[in-house]
Amino acid sequence: MCSDPGQELIRQDIRDHKLDRIVVAACSPHLHEHIFREAVAAADLNPYYFHMVNLREHDSWVHTDKAAATAKAMDLVRAAVRRVKWHEPLESRQVAIHSDVLIVGGGIAGIDAALTLANAGKHVYLVEREATIGGHMAQFDKTFPTLDCAACILTPKMTAVRSHRNITLWTWSDVRQVEGYVGNYSVTVRRKPRYVLEDLCVGCLECIQACVYKQAKVPDAFNLGLGKRKPIYIPFPQAVPQVVVIDPETCIEFKSGKCKKTCVEVCAERNAIDFHQPEEIRTIQVGTIILATGFEVFDSARIPYYGYGLYPNVYTALEIERLVNASGPTGGEVVLRDGRKPASVGIVHCVGSRDVHTNRYCSRVCCMYSLKLAHLIKEKTGAEVYNFYIDMRSPGKAFEEFYNRVAEEGVVFIRGKVADIYPAGNGDGRLILQAEDTLLGMIRKIPVDMVVLSTGLEPRADANDVRRLFNIGCSSDGFFLERHPKLAPVSTFADGIFIAGCCQGPKDIPDTVAQSGAAAAQALALIDAGVVELEPNTAYVMEDACSGCKTCLPLCPYQAISFVEEKRAHINEVLCKGCGTCVAACPSGSIRQHMFEDDQIFEEIEGILAYA
């Protein structure tokens, strides 16, 4: 019925039989209600004289007893037919769309979306929590399967963001509050103090050199604690913006007030350091929002028998990325904690993925990055590399070919999930990786110098709080919920708010960039349309009936109800979102809701129970 002939059938029937109400009993209205409404409108009948019954998702797909399911279908259709009689002709509401866009998260997804929109002439606010954009991709060394240098393909984009006149880049900032609705969001952003003025700092980094701390002593978050930094620092050399940050927890001036402030001295006439810089609260108006807040790495300490944090030479994959990287803490050398090169390395797949005890889902990228790391480690150290895997997931373009190449390079593949990691016990610091090799049908105990845990991707720890800010949902795995997994993967149930990248679910860089392009396109579609149509399901006060009892006033979360001079309630149609709470509360029945009138719902109930 959704196809052209089906639509034409409806239109023809309306014309031939002069129909004035249409009920379609099919799938969920969430999917195709608008298509049918358009068909009805095309036949010159008001589209709100249409009602849809969900017989598929709510009946035929979920019940096994045919007779019961048929009885249920009849009840639902009967209810709809009775309800639709009471439908009124309505016009959808139109609201204007503000053309500015807010993008939350400055990883590759946020960066790409920002550039796309900025190039289209739209003004973008890119808000990033860290002191630099780049996200996780900035921490990678090479990307699979091409072994492109991550920084080489990322940094030009980062620079483009910095210099684009249509992008306002706010790093070291986060979103505190979001109000409004599609096309008209009012967002409050907190800009945390760097204690270095962004406009004045030229990124010469001499202050870091000059810091009274001669040695870097603070564990460096960008290098996952493997390296050290000073209290005044830049996250990594190619950071954008090229502005230093002062950490008040470790800076002597903040802790004691008695530092020589050599940093200020050397900054001289630029005078960019300000120890009293206050936090700034800024409120912006945007029409659409894209969330690109990325992922967090699974915490390997949750699997104690893998020995992370216990045995010094157990590393996570991301830590190895930093070791392998030329600008990392070891200058690109893959070495053990004591500085030796490993002669044997075991890579453990599916750490924190595909497991009922941690996360049931597959993190999608780990097989490929495990292959990449196997290749890089072997190349750098000549070590014997063992990959312990459950399945080899290499679905993308050139992925399978990469797997073949790595296999040909002599990496050993053992199909078995690692059950235990323990010291070999002979004083050489080696660790035994124990797994059942399911192809050979025997238990293997392989001693290695270094273990790499291929950790899965998880949602951000504060994903639940963030999504509440934006009034969207999370799926059961904790990632942001898309409107439809197949047909609307970057839209959410909040109109005008889109998601892109790993915040929606684990994925690699090509898929992330595809999604950020999709999200940018969706935002652009709204902006260029200029107006958005909202369902006309607002509540309204029957002005002659309202007694001014004020019961409704405190109930509206959008402050859409006001008490007017004439001593009765009045609902602002633009602010009303159509929840209907005031309608249910009005004790004299003086507030009604379009599309959800009491009469319509009573008819539905009676229709359902007609043969009870």
């Binding site: 019961a68 399911a69 999370c474 159509g578 209907g580 719902i601």
Partner: protein, 142 residues
């Protein structure tokens, strides 16, 4: 042999969480008891106690209100109002001889397709145990 008693449940599901959860149960082909009939509202806050009473009056064996988890209401607080009304209405219904098992308020998020099955199957089982409702809630006087 008389047909086994199958309770009829009218479910008021909010558009954003519970209705979508039921959709998800559908797309996931999760199977559950066919005893519910869903009436869609935008928010559980729209559920007027009159609807609940009408459902019982017209023959429903059970009424289920589905809303978003506290803190997650698409409209901020509608589910809290539903909760307040539910607590008072439940007490009123008890006085009128309608047991708690017949009137439930459940929080189901859009991602919890399986929870729809759990809630519905549980409610149906408990209503079957309560047995068929007495023939009429009213006695005709005429």
């Amino acid at each position: 042999m008389p047909e086994a008693f199958e309770p009829k449940i009218v479910a008021f599901f909010c558009n954003w969480c519970t209705y979508l959860a039921a959709d998800l149960a559908g797309t996931s082909r999760i199977k559950y008891a066919p005893n519910t009939r869903i009436v869609r509202v935008m928010c559980s806050g729209r559920v007027d106690p009159q609807f609940v009473l009408e459902a019982f009056a017209k023959g429903a064996d059970g009424v289920l209100i589905g809303g978003c988890h506290p803190g997650d209401c698409h409209y901020q607080e509608g589910n809290y109002k539903a909760l307040r009304r539910y607590e008072l209405l439940r007490r009123l219904l008890n006085q009128l001889g309608i047991e708690d098992a017949r009137f439930r308020l459940e929080w189901i998020s859009a991602a919890e397709g399986d929870r729809v099955r759990v809630v519905v199957d549980d409610m149906v089982e408990k209503l079957r145990a309560l047995g068929p409702r007495t023939p009429a809630y009213r006695r005709e006087v005429a």
